[in-house]
């Protein structure tokens, strides 16, 4: 074939290639674009006729009511535990697949990435004669590589036709949980490739003429551990979307297509305009923060996320270059689209909660990453536990934006330290007491402690990091449905807090066991056991490290049967320090645990975490310190040692003069022990990460990325724009090798003794 081909030949060649594409995988053209598309011809034509803002306000209200009604339907009827807690959303998109609005109390993240599969459907299925898109069709999807947070979430997406014209798209998404992965519950930390992640639905048609196609549902049911849930929730989502469709058609009947199209478009454009206006108010410059993730959920290893936010006029650029490279066989990678959806969520939740919940909030903001980094991973990389970097994205804004926002004459919401950002809950699976196979996770994931604010302490266990509100679940209902028994729940974790002038909101203890099942198990997926996760602000401390505690080899039910008073209060610290269960094997472990079996009556304990603290601990009002002691949130020793308060432990009366003197003295101690910055750096800064630290990410230069794992003598330094993935050894293989080495050593010693005739 010659090199110079005519335009006609080029068009023919392009068409041939397009028609003969072997696999319609995730499309980079769609997946790397988080922006609102330019006005369509229809939108342009409609807006040329003028725009009635009062009418648009009226229509927006009606859409909100319709989305809210559909949300309520799913919330009330959904079978997935997540649906009952509100871990869902309903949404409306323009004909081009721009997310226009979500239900007012829905989880924005879901919809902020469901526009990607809709764009996929528009690009690939509309004109494909074997698929097509018509009135009454519904499409399903769960693979985050085509859009979505992670593969536990399933969406039902439906085009809305009015008088033969595609006007908009509607969707409903639920965190369903179980998806047939290598571990139950849908969040397999053990997934070492994408093929361990369970069912991976690219967007496909599963509804025709408003009816679910039973053959396809059967296939899906056959692929997951909870077939009843799969069918039930597909029906629930379909019918919620159909009700939403009815309501939108009523709006079209009343106001006409032009009014609806114009309202959705201007809702997006006005939001973008407002975001740009707010950016313009900020100081020009760059603020930065580093986030460190200390676990791959299989082993401890540091992964750095580097965040630099630059403002210049009305431009905002979020630069994540310098972040850790992707792992080839660990599930804590994410694709870029999911990461951006979490960014959109965090921006709304932590910075500008008053803005409309649309994709237009993030659309004007530029995002730069290193391809093949852990936050911009290739499609082949496992990403079943993408929650780890995604939760970091939700809080990535808080510290750097506080530094931009603090100066503003008028702020839009409170200045706030980082919320606790780990998925602290029990993921479970096995055989229920009713003989059903199941897998899912518990609702107390939704009680993460709020960061301290510039004017007040953080609220305890306030919400999930990814949504304004989702219920933490009814344990009694969970106990009826599953073998899980809560020995302790929603008891605030004393002394585990981000200290500061204002302290972080605290998390609660979660103590669980199992009963009445022949086979049951748990997993947990959290980082922050070595390096704290929720960052403080302006001198406030971070939350502490958190652990997973276990008491194995016991049966608490037998113990309590023998002696109902054997343990009167299930308190993690007391149980672990006092060891009241004789014969139990007590252990303190990393918060990342792959699925393991729990025999009847064995005890697993974790905590929801605290948000970061705000400001210097020496400025904390002693009265607030006493209040924490009174409420049993803080021990007297810590009050003295951290906050430097002098008080009578019996009456909690503060000696204000002595406190002032103690604090003044402590400030003097700081002046004595602190070194001038430049001199300090000379001693402190090393050219490379410590050799014995498993470390992934940049060090002193974001263009040079380290990948070092002392366990396998790996040390690579790469250019950031040429990242490759890294393969981690199986921790059990390392353990076996270590034991074999010990055995060989002992054997050699034995042989030496025998040779010496001893």
């Amino acid at each position: 074939m010659h090199d110079n081909i005519s335009a006609e030949e080029r068009a023919l060649l392009d068409k041939f290639l397009a028609d003969n594409k072997m696999f319609l995988g995730p499309d980079p053209e769609i997946m790397r674009d988080h922006t609102v598309t330019p006005r369509s011809a229809a939108e342009e034509a409609v807006l040329k006729q003028g725009f009635d803002t009062h009418q648009a306000h009226h229509i927006r209200g009606l859409i909100n009511a319709a989305l809210s009604e559909a949300f309520t339907m799913v919330n009330q009827m959904g079978a997935a535990p997540g649906a009952k807690w509100g871990d869902l959303v309903t949404a409306i998109y323009t004909a081009e697949g721009n997310l226009a609005m979500i239900a007012p109390h829905g989880i924005i993240t879901f919809a902020a990435c469901a526009f990607y599969p809709i764009r996929f459907i528009i690009k690939n299925w509309v004109s494909d004669p074997t698929v097509g898109v018509k009135d009454g069709d519904g499409f399903i999807h769960n693979d985050a590589r085509y859009g979505g947070v992670h593969n536990t979430d399933q969406s039902m997406m439906m085009p809305l036709y009015y008088k033969g014209e595609l006007i908009c798209w509607l969707s409903s998404t639920i965190h369903e949980g179980e998806n047939g992965a290598c571990e139950p519950g849908g969040l397999p930390a053990a997934a070492e490739s994408k093929y361990d992640e369970g069912i991976k639905m690219s967007p496909f048609k599963v509804v025709e003429n408003f009816q679910i196609k039973r053959d396809l549902v059967t296939f899906l049911q056959n692929s997951v551990r909870d077939p009843k849930l799969q069918l039930e929730d597909m029906k629930v989502k379909l019918h919620a979307v159909m009700r939403l469709r009815d309501r939108i058609i009523a709006i079209l009947d009343q106001f006409g297509r032009e009014a609806l199209i114009a309202t959705m478009r201007m809702h997006l454009e006005d939001t973008e305009t407002e975001v740009r206006r707010r950016i313009r108010e900020l100081p020009d410059g760059t603020t930065r923060v580093l986030q460190f993730m200390d676990s791959s959920l299989r082993e401890n290893c540091m992964q750095k996320i580097s965040v630099a936010i630059t403002v210049k006029g009305d431009r905002m650029i979020c630069d994540f270059r310098g972040t850790a490279p992707q792992f080839m066989n660990r599930s804590v990678n994410t694709n870029l689209a999911s990461f951006k959806a979490a960014l959109a969520t965090g921006l709304l939740q932590n910075i500008w909660p008053d803005l409309p919940h649309t994709m237009a909030v993030l659309s004007p903001i530029e995002v730069i990453t290193d391809p093949n980094s852990i936050i911009d991973a290739e499609g082949e990389m496992p990403q079943a536990m993408s929650l780890m970097p995604l939760f970091k994205a939700c809080v990535a804004w808080t510290v750097p934006m506080a530094k931009f926002n603090y100066s503003l004459p008028r702020r839009y919401s409170a200045i706030i330290a980082s919320q606790y950002d780990q998925a602290a809950t029990f993921i479970y699976g096995g055989l229920t007491q009713h003989g059903d196979v199941t897998g899912n996770f518990c609702g107390d994931i939704n009680g993460m402690g709020q960061g301290a604010r510039s004017h007040a302490d953080g609220e305890h266990s306030v919400s999930p990091v990814f949504g304004f509100m989702a219920d933490s679940g009814e344990h009694e209902i969970n106990e009826e449905d599953t073998p899980i028994i809560r020995l302790g729940a929603q008891r605030l974790a004393k002394d585990r807090v981000g200290f500061g002038k204002y302290r972080g909101g605290m998390g609660y203890e979660q103590i669980a066991t199992a009963r009445g099942s022949g086979m049951w198990g748990f997993m947990t997926g959290c980082e922050g056991s070595k390096f704290p996760s929720a960052q403080g602000l302006f001198g406030g401390y971070s939350c502490p490290a958190y652990q997973l505690l276990k008491i194995k080899g016991v049966n608490i039910f037998e113990t309590l049967n023998r002696d109902p008073k054997a343990i009167e209060v299930f308190d993690i610290l007391k149980l672990m320090n006092e060891r009241p269960l004789a014969g139990g094997k007590y252990s303190s472990n990393d918060m990342g645990m792959t699925f393991e079996l729990c025999d009847e009556g064995e005890i697993y304990m974790i905590c929801q975490g605290s948000g970061g603290g705000y400001g210097d601990v020496l400025e904390r009002d002693p009265a607030l310190v006493m209040k924490d002691i009174e409420e049993d949130l803080l021990s007297a020793d810590l009050a003295r040692e951290i906050y430097k308060v002098v008080f009578d432990e019996r009456t909690l009366v503060v000696d204000e003069d002595a406190t002032r003197a103690m604090r003044d003295d402590y400030r003097r101690q700081r002046l004595q022990r602190g070194k001038p910055f430049d001199a300090f750096c000379k001693d402190w800064v090393t050219a490379e990460p410590p050799a014995d630290l498993p470390y992934f990410g940049s060090w002193d230069d974001n263009r040079r990325i380290y990948a070092q794992n002392p366990a396998i003598n790996l040390k690579v330094v790469m250019n950031a724009d040429q990242l490759q993935g890294f393969y981690m050894p199986n921790p059990k293989d390392l353990q076996i090798a270590s034991l074999e080495a010990q055995l060989a050593k002992a054997q050699a010693a034995l042989e030496a003794c025998q040779a010496a005739g001893r």
Binding site: D284, T287, V462, R496, Y666, F680
Partner: protein, 145 residues
Amino acid sequence: MKVLVTEYLRINLDTEKWECRRCGHEHGNARENYKHGLLVYDRDPREIHKPLLDTQLYERTYSPDPKWCRILEYYCASCGTMVEAEYLPPGHPPLHDIEFDIDALKLQWKDRKEVTEPSIAPDLALEKVKHGRALHAEMHHGHQH
């Protein structure tokens, strides 16, 4: 004209200096990293996040691992106020976390009135949480919490 930047830092646009908001001490050139003017202390994280489990029994005790994590405490060199607490792996270069364009800042504040005490905004996220909780309670339990 002084511009508030954090709880403990402000920029004096006239002198182009970083200043302590507690004692007025000048930390240094506002076009450079404010940390240059502060004192730093490498804090063992176990001194702040104290072990809550018996260290004789367990290695992991709710304290961060000092081989993985250190806390750099930054103090005002004059009054000893703690301006920042930076959590880093040992030896990691401290971050240049605030780098403003001072010329642009001057232009931006040319027509703004000086703010001496920070504005307090409502915690809208919390309001949304409370609203959501009330709706949820109404929907599921038929009463308001």
